[in-house]
Symmetry: C2
Subunit: 516 residues, 2 copies
């Protein structure tokens, strides 16, 4: 009887409700189940309030998931910001400076004009029929909007698209990839997504079957990967980047950690490579990229690469390579548009059909994000009306970012007990903190990690929000913070002087046994 | 030893790489793992091609997931469409008519002008400083764009927002909900999402711990729910809508199926209610809604409701009620914008913090979709410049939909052996097909469900794309198709005559033993 019940439960689970099985129609005696139910109709009112869901009864994978970039320190910063509004002067600073997240336009960076012109015209195509429009929009933005609308069936920017995204936009993106990498790309390999996050989730969901499936992930790493692995119930197999060598990726370390995982009977399915590094900011050399590809090919791993190219001489058939791209990254920093794509190569067509099916469940990604993804891969070209202003906007953003990165990097390196690598290609710095024993003990007393303790003290003293290294992972016993380089350039000097004053006071407090 | 390995694997899994555990740093002898690996460096090249991932080695939950709305029949339709372009006249029709998906703007419906005006201005705010703009945009669209930009920190429409969406937009939506339902709503309960799908996934992920957790789901149902339950490894507990009573929801049936599930030791966690029905199109009476809420309250179930209101006299504390809203539904049909939200009431703050954490992993939903969600909940009001044109556009869409629904409903009911309920509140019809035995045998011979066989024959003969009832679930032994009512009004007569001609020929073929 019990066995039969199990079988029927399984048949239900396996979707037989779509078949002609009668099992689910057979009613059980209505009374028979209540003894097993904590919520019988006789229970007192008070029981009804929250019992259906408590933190103890949710999916434990959700509980396990961590995401420091918007964690406790950010919630505390938001509280402080409200206090500054309600009680000005209630803190030793007059504004919160969010250096916790790569969100350039939240810190005053202006969008690239050409991109926004085209998006506006595609949102309201009636503009294209009006004379006044030519006074308001550049001629190449108008031409590009027409081109894009002609790629969309019925010019319907308000319609669901193909599950992978509008075919014509994917073709334009494939052309852009080929021009960037000098390596052909295929529109059918491209899946347009609402930013990179859903693409990463889709691949983790596809690859992870149980906690015995492992994903090799850099440490430190952007917590999207650890969060997604946790949500899908897999095993994060860490490999450590070498801080002493500018956060270099050593193949020896990959082999070692793969071996450790296999001795633990973990089936390692994929290798995650983040390039440029996040939070570490380094860029992998082409030589290093080739070694990584060779390692995956030899070990039979899927390569999940954040903005890596296939230009190092391997064809799609040599190994499964999934590369993620997002309009949130790069000089344009269009985080709020949630545009992005993944390029899926080296997987068999039947596996790609499974990815297509999962993409179809969500119907499609947002069309504005799809259009923007095609624009960033095909910006104005020499001769276009917008070309010079576009290049000027782009160069100003990039050169300002370089100046801010250098200033903050030098500032961190000038601090007692702090060492900071260069931000070669990303908008982040990840300085290491060599903290006095007394500070580490103070953190233990406060039941928090030493770098979290430092970050909290920094926030309370200066309004500067950074993320503790413990949120990204780090070699045990080392401590870091991640800071973006994104605050407006005119605020950098003030940030640096506040940072220096705080750090000196912090070190004095914990170095000098007299103070406490 | 094996046990130790397991423990270390578990520690890895449970995220100890973020702690100071040394285990993951201990290298295993590099050789020791290779005997267990199918991909040793000695394996022949040919082995490298696809072994890392095959359909047999992906997550079985992904394999199990089904999504008929974009299934085989749609892929076949896309092939036919390409053949029509490359070889005109190669088929007995000159265009494909997509009645498979609720995608109004793909079938010629125009967007609401006011909404698009505001979106364009928010995408390219520089327009707001130009005189020409007043000639191109309505004064209330310009005023609304200013209002919205002032709700966004730094007016940065290109920045990530709060993980739940821009606070000011959520407050505007809460006001709109309160006006609609006559029941207060709270901005902190609202999570803005990229359409309704991610919200449904978030809740299934939160509630489903194993295949022993069940979700009560209507049959027929929109396959997003069955797909999401399958992807998260839960058990779909079906309850059948009563076709004989206009697809009514009978509480008796809910109790019966809950009892059956409990006898199978399934822990039923939630009840899904789709209102207006999809694919069935019916609207639940307020009386019926009250019964449903009472049932959930008594049985301790979470109520997952597609556009249900809290206006039937229950406060947020009476039961956990999650309602989903999307800009894809409703007269405006802005499917491509991927805007939507869920309103989460009756859950404890610590459970809501878990939902916030999961939302944070994806950072935020797209800002244009967030803005549009606030617009559809707060359209132009009496006295606004756009009010009359807005009402005219809205009324024209709704009255045309009503005419098309009636025409198609009558057409289906005029067919031999076909019965069709009214589309009270949705853009779908779900006619029942009483097929001859010979047709059912022909379907069996073709290894397909009878309604899938009928839909395929209909497509091949007329270019009309409908979804077989088997994709939504139906009482075993009954057969249906789902058709939207969305084709342009001027095409409806042609569709009806093609449909009638096909159906007569189909019945003749399978009724008359002479023909075959």
């Amino acid at each position: 009887m019990r066995r039969l019940a199990m079988d029927r439960a399984k048949r239900l689970l396996f979707g037989s409700f779509l078949s002609s099985s009668q099992s689910s129609l057979t009613p059980g005696p209505a009374s028979s189940c209540f003894p097993f139910s904590p919520f019988s109709s006789e229970a007192p009112m008070s029981l009804y309030k929250f019992p259906p869901v408590t933190v103890e009864t949710i999916n434990p994978k959700v509980k396990r998931c961590e995401y420091a970039v918007r964690g406790e320190i950010v919630s505390h910063a938001q509280r402080l910001q409200q206090e500054l509004q309600t009680k000005p002067g209630s803190h030793p600073f007059d504004e919160i400076l969010y250096c916790n997240i790569g969100n350039p336009q939240a810190l005053g960076q202006q969008p690239i004009t050409f991109f926004r012109e085209v998006l506006a015209l595609c949102d309201y195509p009636a503009l294209l029929d009006r004379d006044e429009t030519h006074a308001l929009f550049s001629s190449d933005a108008i031409a590009r909007a027409w081109e894009i609308l002609d790629l969309i069936p019925d010019r319907a920017t308000g319609a669901y698209s193909h599950s992978q995204g509008i075919k014509g936009l994917r073709e334009a993106i494939a052309v852009g990839i080929a021009e960037r990498d000098g390596f052909p790309a295929n529109a059918d390999d491209i899946f347009l997504t609402d930013g990179a996050s859903p693409a990463v989730h889709m691949m983790m969901q596809l690859l992870i079957r149980s906690e015995k499936d492992g994903i090799l992930c850099p440490i430190p790493q952007y917590p999207l990967y650890s969060a997604s692995i946790a949500l899908h119930g897999g095993c994060l197999v860490p490999y450590y980047l070498d801080e002493g060598k500018g956060w270099g990726l050593e193949i020896f370390e990959l082999k070692q950690q793969l071996a450790v995982a296999r001795t633990q009977s973990i089936t390692v399915r994929a290798l995650v490579v983040i390039n440029p590094g996040n939070p570490t900011g380094q860029v992998l050399s082409e030589e290093n990229q080739k070694e990584i590809v060779e390692f995956c090919r030899k070990e039979g791993l899927v390569l999940l690469a954040d903005e890596i190219s296939r230009s190092m001489g391997y064809g799609g058939d040599d190994l499964p390579l999934i590369s993620f791209q997002s309009v949130s990254k790069g000089y344009y920093g269009e985080c709020g548009k949630r545009g992005g794509y993944m390029e899926v190569t080296g997987l068999s067509s039947d596996v790609k059909e499974q990815i297509y099916k999962v993409a179809s469940v969500n119907l499609c990604s947002n069309i504005s994000g799809q259009i923007l993804s095609s624009l960033v891969m095909n910006p104005p070209k020499v001769g276009d009306e917008s070309y010079e202003s576009y290049m000027a906007e782009k160069d100003e953003i990039l050169s300002s970012l370089a100046r801010r990165a250098k200033a903050l990097e030098d500032a961190f390196n000038s601090l007692e007990g702090v060492t900071c690598n260069k931000a070669e290609g990303a908008m982040y710095l990840f300085p290491r903190l060599h903290l006095p024993q007394k500070a580490i003990k103070a953190a233990e007393a406060a039941k928090t990690a030493p770098d979290a303790y430092y970050a909290r003290r920094l926030l309370d003293a200066t309004g500067i929000v950074v993320v503790p290294g413990s949120g990204f992972g780090q070699v045990p016993g080392t401590w870091h913070i991640r800071s973006t380089i994104l605050p407006p350039e005119d605020k950098i000097p003030a940030i640096i002087s506040r940072l220096k004053a705080f750090h000196e006071a912090f070190m004095d407090e914990f170095r000098d046994q007299g103070v406490a």
